[in-house]
């Protein structure tokens, strides 16, 4: 990855990701948060393109930028209250959390800086979707199925949890 376009793209996208992420954390309005989150997700997706993971990039856009963001919007709307704006953005452990985050950053940064990676010279095959599809249904078929079951369970669980209990309805338990 030495072409000038790639390098330039990397720095550009990185800046976009970090900026969007900071905006997510710093926004006062929850709706703004979600919008910046979507921007961040799309930026990450373009980073995946840069990494030759086109399938993942599509998934990222569909699942994260699409579905998750929409769900977040719903969540925000369903729990919206007028007095939200007045209250403090951060809780009382701000300082300690800042310290922890800085140390985490220093630690990972320090470790990464000194690391020497084993870089394979090979390139990613062109048709990633075919490869991933074959792998998912052969070598990783059991995790794949488990993930499917997990999604189903999560779906049912979310419905049960979020279902409104009517005041007149008889309690089942």
């Amino acid at each position: 990855m030495t072409s000038i376009y790639q390098v330039g793209a990397f720095w550009l996208i990185s800046l976009a990701i970090i900026f969007a992420a900071i905006m997510v954390v710093a926004s006062r309005q929850l709706v703004h948060m979600v919008l910046w989150l979507a921007v961040c997700f799309i930026a990450v997706a373009s980073m995946y393109f840069l990494l030759d993971a086109d399938y993942l990039a599509l998934v990222q856009i569909m699942v994260y930028a699409g579905a998750v963001s929409i769900m977040m919007i719903f969540g925000v709307m369903l729990t919206q209250r007028p007095d939200l704006k007045e209250c403090l953005l951060f809780n009382n452990q701000l300082k300690l959390a800042t310290l922890v985050v800085i140390v985490v950053l220093a630690l990972t940064g320090g470790l990464t800086y000194g690391a020497r990676w084993f870089v394979s010279g090979a390139t990613v095959p062109a048709d990633t979707i075919a490869h991933i599809g074959t792998l998912l249904l052969s070598k990783y078929v059991i995790p794949f199925e488990v993930a499917a079951v997990l999604l189903l369970v999560a779906l049912i669980g979310a419905i049960v949890l979020a279902k409104e209990v009517k005041p007149g309805a008889r309690s089942r338990d």
Binding site: N91, Q93, A97, V103, V104, L107, G110, Y113, G114
Partner: protein
Amino acid sequence: MYHAWLVPLLPALSFAVISLLTKQWKWLSATISIGAMVSGFIIAAFIAVGVLQHPGLINHPLVYSLRWLSMPGFKVDAGILLDPLSAMMLFMVTLVASLIQIYSLGYMRGEKGFSVFFAYMSLFGASMLLLVAASNLLELFVAWEGVGVCSYMLIGFYNHKISAREAAKKAFVTTRIGDTGLLLGLLSLQLIFGTLNIADLAQKIPQFQNIPLLITVAVLFFLGPVGKSGQFPLHVWLPDAMEGPTPVSALIHAATMVVAGVYLVGRMLFMFASVPPVMELVAWVGGFTAIFAASIAITQREIKRILAYSTISQIGYMMLGLGVGSLSAGFFHLWTHAFFKALMFLGAGSVLIGLHHKADVWEMGGLIKKMPITAVTFVVGGLAISGIPPFAGFWSKGDILDATLASGHTVLFVIGSFTAFLTAFYIWRMIFLCFFGKENPENHPQESPLVMTIPLMILALFSTVAGLIGTPWWDVWGRYIHFGTYVPPVANWPLMIGDTLLGALGIYAAYLFYCKDREKTKALAARQWFGGRLYDVLYHKYYLDELYMWFNHSMVDGVARLMYLFDIYVVDGIVNGVGAFTVAAGEGLRVFQTGRLQNYALVFFLGVLAVGVLLAFTGPHATLFLGGVR
């Protein structure tokens, strides 16, 4: 013969089925239990035939086993060991148990816990059969404890009665003393020889040189049979065990379980025979127990208690036979005794049912008119135990006395002979008091139903003929069950005649005292003449129970009190201290439990950081940080 494992398994299954599924349906439960036992009997009969056809099994038992558990230096195989000895026991146990279960149908009719009773009986059968067939001493020990538990549960079967509960506890605790010894013996065998397989031990022990060590092991080992088989001084539980239902007394405390000790000694006779001093001990304990229990039996009044002491005494005989080195004589007596003692217990149970559980023999009398079958079968049992030819007891008891004399134990021979006289006397005292003489107008006895009398008749038949397979002229028994080389027996006429005379003399004396003399004046006079004191001593069983109680109160309670103080001040102090510390620590740490999610997450990440920093600077990749010092 390869299906012998089914014999213990069937009753075990029956126990499981009854206790889990069919407890609600009484007759179904009883049918399952009896069916399992009878099937076991049929298999055991085929096994017995098979063993008779293969004389090679005498010296080379058939063993088949599975690896039970295995760890370095310690392997246990569980399996089945078949030789004439175990085949005979399987046959005898299943036969007697089947008959007694059938009898229980009548005896336990209408009792509470009918199904539970049969479940316990099945479990007992399974344990006993496993004990008999076990090829490994650890397996045998498991079964040994299994019969102990069943015995405990069945003695305490009428658990609404305090006396039954106490008796159950007494039985359990007393046998436990012996079992501890047995367990120690087992462990030492494992330590010394590295195996508990009976067949392997039989190879290794006779070659073992360290005699003092082996003596210790054998004595420890012998404690188990002493406890289980009710030998002096651990016999005290057996008479109290009569609190259980009579079929239980017949099955467990007369015919089968109590002879488990004898069986164990017989099974391990190769070990005992290697250490002559222990053999002497076995013989003397047996002989002493025999005369000791017989002398107590003379004075007892309750019908089942007399039989209980008689059982102790007869088991003493068996031990005597084994102690003088005659496996065949000891086990021959075991075989015959199982039949006639089960017969007499069941007869006693029939009497008790007829008299609505009035147990004092002095309040009975003349029952032969109302309960002819019970009476006649009982008389057969009495003849058998007294050693009157051709009944079973004559042959087996004669064998034991013969073996005792032949091995040069004159004193033991005299004791044994005198015991034979006493045996005849006390049994016939009971018979005359119960079944003959004038009737007690307060009693309204009636004959028991067929389901009870038929087992009595079958047992009476066996009590009559079971001894005929071991006569000096046709010694099938000795040819198959013996220890060492087989010596064909010779008819010892003086001894046989003497035996018979002794038995007859005992019966005649009982007749004089308790039957001919209607008012029992002579008996009372004799009691006076013996001196009330001796009578009292005998009647109170040599005050052994009192002695044990005294020991318990003074010594054990004293130590216990010491322990109690220790417990209060030291143990409790530590425990309470730990508790107080925990409470204080909890109070202190409560501050940190805010219940707020993000606090927890923060602390969690602090922990992660701590680990990360630690690894980054001290771990194997410490040089990675910022390129390290490269």
